[in-house]
């Protein structure tokens, strides 16, 4: 494949066709999953897969530098940034399925379909039948050819790109930076505040009651057997991830009794 691209062949090989159809299908499925998955994490992972496949396509088209940059910049940096933000915003936060505008979803799908048909029909009408290949421009080496263009014809665009990157970095810092408007409370002040409010003076009770359930999401039981929400971390409580096992001990006992009864019954039958 690389030899083909380098020699400036006008036709693509069977191998490339097979690669295109297999990976192209996966790329389209990944793109569809990006749009259709309810959770943002799944969307991000599907998009990362699609981007890696696109990197393979770049390599197949003789854009070796771009293929590597695609993997490093897109799947390496940008998608990781997306994952970080997804985790900041909340992994479990799923999209609401409620439509605020009536029929907006169907209209959007219709618009997309019409746009796609228009675009593909336009491409189909163009007389593009063969590749000229990159053999001639890559004669001095691929990266050398790219560098020659970037540092001669596109030098201004390149320099402005540097200014853009600096502006973006400063902008991101300005947008996410939060100035502390008041002094942080010291430990003594926090303790005094706790005593003044008198809600919970001693440290909060620990979660988990049984040897089998000492996980942080299991609420500890009060003397009367009801689970105490206080024992579970505030974050888990907010997410609704508190596991209640207060009824489980009795069920376990019941299952054990039934199992032993079955076993004894079978032993009696065999005698």
């Amino acid at each position: 494949m690389s030899a083909l691209a380098a020699s400036g062949a006008t036709l693509t090989s069977t191998g490339e066709a097979v690669q295109f159809w297999v990976l192209g299908t996966v790329a389209v499925i990944g793109a569809l999953c990006t749009v259709l998955m309810r959770k943002a994490v799944h969307s991000a992972l599907c998009l990362a897969g699609t981007m890696i496949i696109l990197a393979v396509f770049y390599l197949a088209n003789g854009a070796y530098f771009l293929g590597v940059v695609q993997v490093i910049v897109y799947t390496g940096a940008i998608m990781m940034l997306f994952l970080f933000v997804v985790m900041l915003v909340g992994v479990t936060a799923a999209d609401s399925l409620k439509e605020t505008l009536k029929g907006q979803r169907w209209l959007a799908v219709l618009c997309g379909l019409g746009f796609g048909i228009l675009l593909i029909a336009g491409i189909a009408n163009a007389g593009l039948t063969h590749f000229n290949g990159l053999g001639r421009v890559n004669s001095a080496g691929h990266v050398q050819g790219l560098a020659e263009l970037i540092f001669t014809r596109y030098i201004f665009a390149f320099e402005i790109t540097g200014a853009l990157l600096i502006t973006a970095a400063v902008g991101a810092m300005v947008l996410t930076h939060r100035e502390r408007t008041e002094r942080a409370a010291t430990q003594r002040e926090l303790a005094e505040k706790r005593v003044r409010e008198g809600v919970q003076l001693p440290p909060l009770p620990a979660p988990g009651v049984y040897a089998r359930h000492n996980a942080v999401d299991v609420a500890g039981l009060l003397p009367d057997g009801t689970p105490s929400e206080l024992t579970v971390s505030k974050t888990l409580r907010a997410r609704g991830q508190v596991r209640d096992v207060s009824g489980q001990a009795l069920e376990d006992l019941k299952a054990l009794e039934q199992a032993s009864a079955e076993r004894l019954g079978r032993e009696e039958a065999s005698k």
């Binding site: 770049y58 915003v89 590749f131």
Partner: protein
């Protein structure tokens, strides 16, 4: 294989991304769909570069990647600050300028 197939794939991915921008409400997923559209454009640029036998297409794709990186940094910062003030990443909730 006809080289125009790469362009078909790029058009298909672009369309899926555009439909996603219209359909989805989570700002992060919206942003991912925009990235998908940018990537589809890059694929078309690379395919054109091979078709015409010059490297300009690849240079443009390279600049697109740089601009996309800058755009993602600023956009995600906006989403994070929006989430801080409104406790939601849904674009439907950002309606402060509504009458």
């Amino acid at each position: 294989m006809n080289p125009v197939n790469y362009l078909y794939l790029a058009a298909l991915l672009f369309t899926i991304g555009a439909a996603g921008v219209l359909v989805r409400k989570n700002a992060i997923v919206l942003f991912m769909c925009i990235e998908l559209m940018l990537n589809a454009c890059n694929l078309a640029f690379v395919a054109f570069s091979r078709m015409h036998g010059n490297l300009d297409g690849q240079i443009i794709a390279f600049f697109t990647m740089v601009v996309a990186a800058a755009e993602v940094v600023v956009g995600l910062a906006i989403i994070v600050s929006l989430f801080r003030t409104r406790h939601s990443a849904s674009v439907d909730d950002a309606s402060l300028m509504k009458l």
